[in-house]
C-alpha cells in the first residue's frame, strides 16, 4: 500500500468518525458557550485537544476559574487512557518510524482514530491516521464552533440518534476480531458486565468515564494476559 492509498483509505474510514464527531462536538460547543467561550476559542480547544471528556472537563474548569494544578490533575484523569492506547499503538509502528510520524500520529490519538489504526491489519502506516485526521478533526473543531454559534439548532431527536454513531464505530472494531478469536468472544460480554457493575458501584461509579475505562482496561487486560497469553501467530503485536 502506498502512502497515497493509505491516506485515501484513512479518509474513507474518517467519514463515519467525522459524522459522529460533528454531533458530539456540537453539544460540546453548547457547553463551551455556557462558560462564555467564543467560537474561535471553542474551535481552537477542539483542534488542539480532540478529546470529548477532556474538553468537557476543560470547559467546566474555565467556568470555575480553576487553578493550573487542578488543570494538570483533571487532564491526567480525563485523558490518561491515551497513555495506554499510545503504548499499544507504538507496537504497531515499524521500529524505524521517524520522529515526525511519532509526533503526528501521537498528537491525534483519539478513541476513534486509535480504534481505526489498531484494528488495521499489519504494521501501521501513519498516512492512514493522517487521512482519518484530515476528515475527522476539522469536523470536530468546526462542530464545536458551530455549537457555540448556533446552540440548539438541531432537533433533540437528531442529536440523540447521532450520539450513538461513535459507539457504532467501536462495535464495528471489536466484533470482527471477536468472531475470529474465542477468547475475545467470551471476554467482551464479561467486559460489558464489569463495565456496567463499575458504573453502578459506589465510588467507582462516580469517577469520570475515562478513568473507569483505564481502571477496567488495566485489570481486565492483565487477567486476560496472564490467563490467555497470546501465541506468536495471534500477534497483532508481532515481534
Amino acid at each position: 500500500m502506498t502512502n497515497r492509498q493509505a491516506f485515501i483509505r484513512g479518509m474513507k474510514a474518517g467519514v463515519p468518525i467525522a459524522l459522529g464527531y460533528f454531533a458530539v462536538s456540537f453539544s460540546l460547543g453548547i457547553a463551551a458557550k455556557a462558560v462564555g467561550l467564543t467560537p474561535f476559542q471553542g474551535f481552537l480547544a477542539s483542534l488542539l485537544n480532540s478529546a470529548s471528556a477532556g474538553e468537557y472537563a476543560l470547559f467546566s474548569l474555565i467556568g470555575a476559574g480553576a487553578s493550573l494544578v487542578e488543570l494538570v490533575f483533571v487532564t491526567i484523569v480525563a485523558n490518561g487512557r491515551y497513555l495506554l492506547m499510545s503504548c499499544a499503538l507504538g507496537q504497531k509502528f515499524p521500529e524505524d518510524t521517524p520522529l515526525i510520524h511519532r509526533f503526528g500520529v501521537g498528537f491525534y490519538i483519539t478513541d476513534e482514530i486509535f480504534s481505526l489504526s489498531i484494528t488495521t491489519p499489519g504494521k501501521l502506516n501513519p498516512f492512514i491516521n493522517y487521512g482519518a485526521i484530515a476528515v475527522a478533526v476539522p469536523a470536530w473543531s468546526v462542530g464545536t464552533a458551530l455549537g457555540i454559534v448556533a446552540g440548539n439548532i438541531l432537533p433533540a431527536n437528531i442529536v440523540s440518534a447521532l450520539s450513538v454513531a461513535l459507539y457504532g464505530m467501536f462495535i464495528a472494531c471489536f466484533v470482527p476480531p471477536a468472531k475470529a478469536n474465542k477468547i475475545l468472544l467470551c471476554a467482551i460480554p464479561v467486559c460489558f458486565l464489569l463495565s456496567y457493575l463499575a458504573f453502578r458501584m459506589p465510588y467507582i461509579g462516580d469517577l469520570s468515564e475515562g478513568t473507569r475505562a483505564v481502571i477496567l482496561t488495566v485489570v481486565i487486560a492483565t487477567v486476560l494476559a496472564i490467563a490467555f497469553p497470546i501465541k506468536d501467530e495471534d500477534g497483532e503485536v508481532e515481534v
Binding site: 450513538v164 459507539y167 463495565s195
Partner: protein, 99 residues
C-alpha cells in the same frame, strides 16, 4: 486566567500523554505478558467504553440498547464501519419515534 492558558495547558499535557509512549517504547516488546496485555488493551477499552455508555447516550435507554444489538448483529455478518455506525443512528431515530 485567560481561557487560552487553559486550552494550551491541556493541549501540552494531553500531547505529552499521547506522544511520550511512542517516543520511549521504540523497540518491539519481547516480554510475553506485556505483548499479551497490549494485544488485549484495545478490545477491552473499546468494549468497556461502549457499554453501558451507549444505553446512557440516547434519550431513551431502550433505543440505545436496540442500537447495540443491531450494531453487533451487523458487524457480525460483516457490515463495514460506516454501515454499522449509520444503522445504529437509524435504529435510535426510529425507536425514539415509536417509544
Amino acid at each position: 486566567m485567560s481561557a487560552y492558558i487553559y486550552i494550551i495547558g491541556m493541549c501540552v499535557i494531553t500531547a505529552a500523554i499521547r506522544i511520550l509512549p511512542l517516543l520511549i517504547l521504540r523497540r518491539p516488546i519481547k516480554n510475553r505478558f506485556l505483548r499479551s496485555f497490549f494485544y488485549y488493551v484495545p478490545y477491552v477499552t473499546l468494549s468497556v467504553m461502549t457499554f453501558p455508555a451507549i444505553v446512557n447516550a440516547t434519550d431513551s435507554p431502550l433505543a440505545g440498547a436496540l442500537a447495540l444489538v443491531a450494531g453487533i448483529a451487523l458487524a457480525w455478518i460483516g457490515a463495514n464501519m460506516i454501515t454499522v455506525s449509520a444503522a445504529c443512528c437509524l435504529v435510535v431515530f426510529i425507536a425514539e419515534l415509536i417509544v
